[in-house]
Amino acid sequence: MASDAAVIIGAGFAGVSAAFAMREAGHAGPITIVGDEAHLPYERPPLSKGLLTGSHTGLMPIRKAADYAVAGIALTTGASATGIDRDRWRVELSTGHALAYDRLLLATGAAPRRLDLPGSDAVTIHTLRNAADLARLQPAFAGARRLAIVGGGLIGLELAAAARQRGLAVTVIEAGPRVLGRGVPEALASVLAETHRSNGVTILTGVAPASVSAAGVALSDGRLVEADTIIAAIGVTPRTALAEQAGLAVAGGIVTDNMLQVAEGIFAAGDCAISAHPLFDDAMVRLESWQSAGDYGVAAGRNMAGQGQPIGVVPWMWSDQYDLGLYTAGVPAAGATTVDRIEDGLVTQFQLDPSGRLVGAASLGSGTSASRGIKIASRLIAARAAPDPGHLADPSRPLKALLQ
């Protein structure tokens, strides 16, 4: 066993955040990040937004190359981990090398679900998750006229907005009864859907794709959505194969305890990990947002450095579509009652559990205007507060007063 060596598998936001947090928390031994992409670790959120519309150019690094050198963090890019030898405390790499570890973090992320339909072998069905996907999609976008997006979730709708800004004809095909059925209240989802329609997007709900061809996407009801470019945005699955091979617990993600530990010396964080959340009755929660990847990555890094702090951050995420910004905090609870707050240009919905505790909130407004209310909601959720519903609903009463 090497002396106090840390290995982090995965160079996304969780892995990079963990590495720097571990160093900042006083870990003195070597830290190595292993990433299977060739790039300096980069931010994923712009992939489905500015990098597709052309308002951003070039990947945005999470940290400058020099920061890794200053912090003494080794970056092994273009290499994947092929196995974990838990008896010998070693990670085997695709390069044939092995890395010894005393602390190992699995930050392997998630992979987009593939659309497997009759005809899908014969045409290209794009997905968008990483820089390579973007590099394939960008030229397709440039030459495309008609785009079919399968999946009306956040990524599907962000892609739709980006494609409209590029002048493409866009159809979104959603099998569920409405778009954003997972995690976004109907009141806000309907405003977003209407915004997409007024920007020229065709949204089809309650209908599934049956097959694909060079003509486009044939639907289960017999209709054809004509398209020269098809994107599947139907969610992701956590990348857990490495953990499973190593005999670690996997159930909808790599199962961690409340310190993000999986087994002796092994931790997991980010999209690949599932953990009991203390703010939500210890429900097993796997989060897929940028903010959570960072928060959990930092927590894992600190705990790998020996700090032993249980997790408890409130989930938070945002999405940009056209000039609208959607922000959410918390976890929508079954059986929750909702309180709507309507103020100039801003729609906010709060979710209260049966005891009156605030457990979730979502807000939609122009630009970043919806952020502040959700930051306040996030603090109330963390404090297990049961705010007065009358106050929440009254736009003349500042939300910030609830924090006092």
Partner: protein, 105 residues
């Protein structure tokens, strides 16, 4: 040449809050602290192009609306990931009901 420019009225900002001020093609954020002093910084977060006037002020900290990066708005100091680059700050004075910031024009 440095010049004092009116950014807003004293009553345009609540205590422990922030407003936006645009001038000469540039954009700024003007703050009023809990101890009733006024401060000014660049308007955009140094991490990405989010405007800090939609951020959240707690004590002497402004939190970016988008990625939750934090700065001390009195000094511009970045307070940790994901923000690493400090914010530029500008001298502020109050003249009667007016909040003025000093800009080089």
């Amino acid at each position: 040449m440095a010049e004092w420019i009116r950014a807003c009225g004293v009553d345009d900002i609540d205590t422990e809050d922030v407003v936006r001020f645009d001038h000469g093609g540039r954009t700024f954020a003007i703050y009023r602290s809990p101890d009733d002093k006024f401060y000014a910084t660049d308007g955009h977060c140094t991490h990405e192009q989010a405007h800090l006037a939609d951020g959240f002020v707690m004590d002497s900290i402004i939190e970016c609306p988008k990625h939750n990066g934090r700065f001390d708005y009195r000094t511009g100091a970045a307070k940790g990931a994901p923000v690493c680059v400090n914010l530029a700050t500008y001298p502020v004075r109050v003249d009667g009901d007016h909040v003025l910031i000093e800009l080089t024009v």
